[in-house]
């Protein structure tokens, strides 16, 4: 669970995780928070990986992947620290992991109360179109922060997870080209429980453009179909 200044929402999120998935080991990657995120997470019974400075979500995630790989976990799930994701759906993601290496919990097609603004939806459509062009598949939610990974994918991501913002799209197409099986599962999604959204509009536009350009440039790489690495 990557967390940046989420001390306000973290106790409730950790509490729900412990109640609904008591068998799970919770690791919070504190991405250089300036509030009490690390202390709150520790008090909530999570293992805390405190980064000395802010690496961005991609860096925090890779830290988590490396931790999972080093500690011999067979599978892992990424959950947001702001309470948007329902821990009850983790079992659902893991179930889908039987036939896939990467399972994305999609906010759309679910039954939650999640809505996005018009600009953002337009940008998401454009991104979706670009991805369909490259992969021939439709992904309904490319930026979801609720995803499950199996061991081979954890190993792959622990070395190669992209570091820049909106890394999930790059990661998705990277995993696709590397021959991993990707599945989407509709999940219920709630509006943020607290904290501020992580990006402003103009910045968001820049990142959408950057990601689209990046994946288009990377499109020369051919998918290694049939590989199960």
């Amino acid at each position: 669970m990557p967390a940046l200044n989420e001390a306000a929402t973290l106790p409730e999120v950790l509490d729900r995780l412990h109640r609904e998935v008591p068998w799970a080991d919770v690791v919070v990657v504190d991405d250089g928070s300036t509030d009490e995120t690390a202390a709150v997470a520790r008090a909530g019974g999570a293992t805390v990986l405190s980064l000395p400075f802010n690496l961005g979500i991609g860096g925090a995630l890779r830290t988590g992947f490396r931790y999972a790989v080093d500690h011999g976990y067979d599978r892992a799930v990424q959950v947001d620290a702001d309470g948007q994701h329902d821990p009850g759906a983790i079992e659902k993601l893991f179930a889908a992991l039987d036939d896939a290496d990467l399972v994305i919990g999609s906010r759309f097609g679910g039954t939650g109360d999640y809505e996005v603004g018009r600009t953002r939806r337009g940008a998401m459509r454009l991104l979706q179109f670009t991805l369909r062009l490259l992969s021939g598949r439709t992904f309904t939610d490319t930026s979801s922060g609720f995803r499950a990974f199996n061991r081979p994918l954890l190993e792959y991501f622990s070395k190669s997870y992209p570091s820049e913002y909106m890394e999930s799209v790059e990661a998705l197409i990277g995993a696709y080209y590397a021959g991993f099986r990707i599945a989407e599962v509709p999940i219920e999604m709630h509006q943020r429980a607290g904290g501020a959204p992580s990006a402003l509009r103009l910045k968001l536009a820049y990142h959408y453009i950057r990601v689209i350009v990046t994946i288009l440039i990377g499109a020369g790489r051919r998918p290694q179909t049939g590989s199960t690495k």
Partner: protein, 126 residues
């Protein structure tokens, strides 16, 4: 080039050479960078003292306006340097990222160990 301009350029490049030498001595730069800039400064100095060199070189490659040849070479060189810096910067960023991860792992490990140690010492010393 007029005499005033000539003197001005010569003095500027002399200052540049002295500045680079100073930077090298104080180890402010890695010597590979200082050597690069020192070489540039020496080339500039040579050209400032013998302006005829640029003219001849420029006519030799078929450029009729020598300042354009000089500027063209300068821009191309700076472009190469900047691209190289971008590459270097990406590499350094990646390295600091790995270091940050290692620090986080070590911190977590250290916390775990000190918790165990204090639990043990509680057992030993009543």
């Amino acid at each position: 080039m007029t005499n005033t301009a000539h003197v001005f350029v010569a003095l500027t490049t002399l200052a540049l050479i002295l500045f680079m030498a100073r930077m090298l001595r104080k180890h402010n730069f890695k010597s590979k960078y200082t050597l690069l800039w020192l070489a540039i400064a020496v080339i500039m100095g040579t050209l400032a003292v013998f302006p005829g060199l640029i003219d001849n070189a420029s006519y030799a490659v078929g450029v009729d306006y020598p300042p354009a040849a000089f500027l063209g070479v300068a821009v191309a060189f700076l472009l190469v340097v900047v691209v190289q810096y971008s590459w270097e910067l990406s590499r350094l960023e990646e390295r600091s990222r790995v270091l940050a991860e290692e620090v986080a792992f070590l911190r977590a490990e250290q916390e775990l160990l000190s918790a165990r140690v204090s639990a043990l010492s509680d057992e030993v010393a009543p």
